[in-house]
Assembly symmetry: C2
């Protein structure tokens, strides 16, 4: 218990149960997020040891474009089956109370009766749907990519430890993330498959049905669409990193929900994290947005003694621009990468001409509101490219 | 011209024309506002010479309540017929361009064609109405008080140079503001008359028709409703401070308008100041909100090179909480003073018990969002009063 607050966490998983669980996600924590962990004393994976240092970009146009951008400070990806139980133990050690067991929609009012404020930060289905959809920020009715996400071994590290973002026009994106899991270093491969494209079959083929057949199909598709990745693969060693649980397939409908809801007992419940704003993983924004919002929520809980509409308004005002910018930027990229939008191609062309622009684009994965300052209109994209091109013209 | 920005001001008044104009308002600049003027190098009336230091409060209940609260740093009221032309000259001296002449609604598109961004900060009638009413923050359809506002001489200063806020239940509020005008020190009297109350006649009686009759009526009403003010009046000297132009009568319908509008040429026009949010003057928030928003707008103009929806969103997000808090707090006080709301009376009772609470309430005229943190719900008012009462209980 800190700051006079006595929090209780309701979860269906004990710290011990994570080790045998299926892969939960493939999440990179940007340095804005690891710095928040430093401040809270829960960064157990310092970035000088566990971090990566930039982004490679591979655009699979007829003349492929390859670029690299630096992060100002490293990012870090740790398997959430290691991360979550460790932070749960931190919470318990510091006096937080945990109630284990399934949480159903019908239990929320009872939980709320026992506390000053209820925060809902997970819950597909009825619990999440307590919060109405916010149509202003929810342009899609269905997933924009089919996802096949796995932790794999057998990929040689590139020159710099870095994420690589691959784009195969008409097929989809692939994000390769150097990640720390049960057996040490491995790579997360996030396959973002355009619906109806050549890669979609990877969302439907099951590893567990025939591991070798799945791997062969995956290798065939990687060779065709992502040849520079394929060139770094040791076919003999290439497999899931730990076990058949290291793979996750599906799709996400990007959705923003209302900030809060009033329960039957008159108290407020606040939506946080994925319940508030769930994004496609293509830009790695979801967990970082959630961490940002969670720390602000904590600060506002400490600063207020009444948890009413004004409390929620103040909290939501503070998180709004980053979370909605992360959401809109992600949705913009999903849409405009798929349709090869000329303005976006102009920006990519600008990156190819300007290392400074590539560095800025890379570093600003930390600052989605700065990305939205660029991508929110064609005029802004053009102004940015022109501004970054100026120093070269002056040389 | 500073920061690479070349501003043009369209106004119907030259600096020379202010001296002969009717009183424009009675505005106090709180220290957050004079500090903005210091930063911009346009504070020509330093508060150590021109300032006042706190608020007296007089509640005309059967047992009158009198209180005093300190401001952390002084506020200052200068006649806008002195203030505005001086700042207009500053603007011109620094290279700002001014176009003199009437500005009509039909001219706005033409003005917009010649500039990157159009900011509309004054304009009753059609110019203001370009921006649609924001019903979420506009609860009233008509003025909540009839106003009679004047600059007067013949009032002895109280012990401390300070504003006095008087409240006469059923009749209305009176705000006395030590002000600097053409003849030096005088007092602004802001009579906020409840509609249908005993003071309403003062909104309809014209000074110019018969000055002596008007002054006698005013003195009769002050004696009845605001006896502690009346006791400081020298009846012989009491009159308008400079001339018959020192009085203004009417009423304000508190209204919030949309942040921006898209003109026929596709460009944005932004609403600022009274065009965006006009409040009743009872709490002296209007000009301070406008100054706050204007400086933020200037910062955002410098920080952005495209003036589109995203620009407006960023600007509006930054001004929103203070401007809407000033608006909502003012509307709250209008409504709840008139109906003698028990929760508000509880707060006033708390002030009478706690000098610290009276000081905080006084200083937070600088920070309307802190006032709204208190007055936005009865629970918050009670929590504040309870919190401030604690140190006394511990003694």
């Amino acid at each position: 218990m800190q700051n006079g607050i006595k929090p209780t966490l309701y979860t269906d998983r004990t710290p011990e149960e994570y080790a045998d669980a299926r892969l939960m996600n493939t999440v990179a924590h940007h340095h804005v997020t690891t710095e928040r962990e430093d401040a809270l004393g829960c960064n157990h994976w310092p970035s000088d040891e566990f971090g990566y240092f930039g982004h490679y970009y591979y655009i699979g146009t007829p003349e492929p474009i390859e670029m690299f951008g630096d992060l100002a400070r490293p990012s870090r990806a740790v398997d959430y089956r290691i991360y979550q139980p460790k932070l749960l133990k931190d919470f318990i050690e510091r006096g937080g109370e945990v109630v284990y067991g399934p949480v159903e929609r019908e239990m929320i009012e009872g939980i709320s009766d026992a506390h000053d404020l209820t925060v809902v930060c997970t819950g597909k289905g009825p619990i999440g749907q307590m919060f109405g959809r916010d149509d202003r920020f929810s342009p899609f009715e269905r997933p924009q990519r089919m996802l096949c996400v796995g932790l794999v071994k057998g990929i040689t590290e590139p020159e710099t430890r870095a994420v690589t973002m691959y784009f195969s026009p008409g097929a989809g994106e692939l994000i390769e993330i150097p990640s720390w899991s049960f057996n040490g270093w491995c790579n997360a491969l996030v396959l973002e498959k355009q619906i109806g494209g050549d890669l979609e079959i990877l969302a439907k083929t099951k590893y567990q049905d025939d591991p070798r057949a799945f791997l062969d199909l995956l290798l065939e598709k990687l060779e065709k669409h992502y040849p520079t990745l394929y060139a770094r693969i040791d076919r003999e060693e290439f497999d899931l990193a730990n076990s058949p649980l290291d793979i996750l397939q599906g799709g996400v409908t990007p959705t923003v929900r209302q900030t809060c809801t009033t329960l039957d007992n008159g108290k407020m419940a606040v939506a946080l994290g994925d319940v508030h704003a769930v994004v496609d993983p293509v830009l790695g924004q979801g967990a970082n947005m959630a961490s940002y919002a969670a720390v602000i929520l904590g600060e506002e809980i400490v600063a207020n003694d009444v948890f009413d509409q004004r409390f929620v308004e103040k909290f939501d005002t503070r998180r709004h621009d980053r979370v909605m910018s992360g959401t809109r930027w992600t949705n913009y990229m999903l849409e405009n990468l798929a349709k090869l939008d000329p303005t976006l191609l102009e920006f990519i062309g600008g990156m190819a001409q300007s290392r400074a622009l590539t560095d800025q684009f890379t570093e600003d994965f930390n600052h989605p509101e700065a990305q939205w300052d660029i991508f929110s209109s064609p005029e802004r994209v053009r102004a940015t490219v022109a501004r970054m091109a100026l120093p070269m013209a002056a040389e």
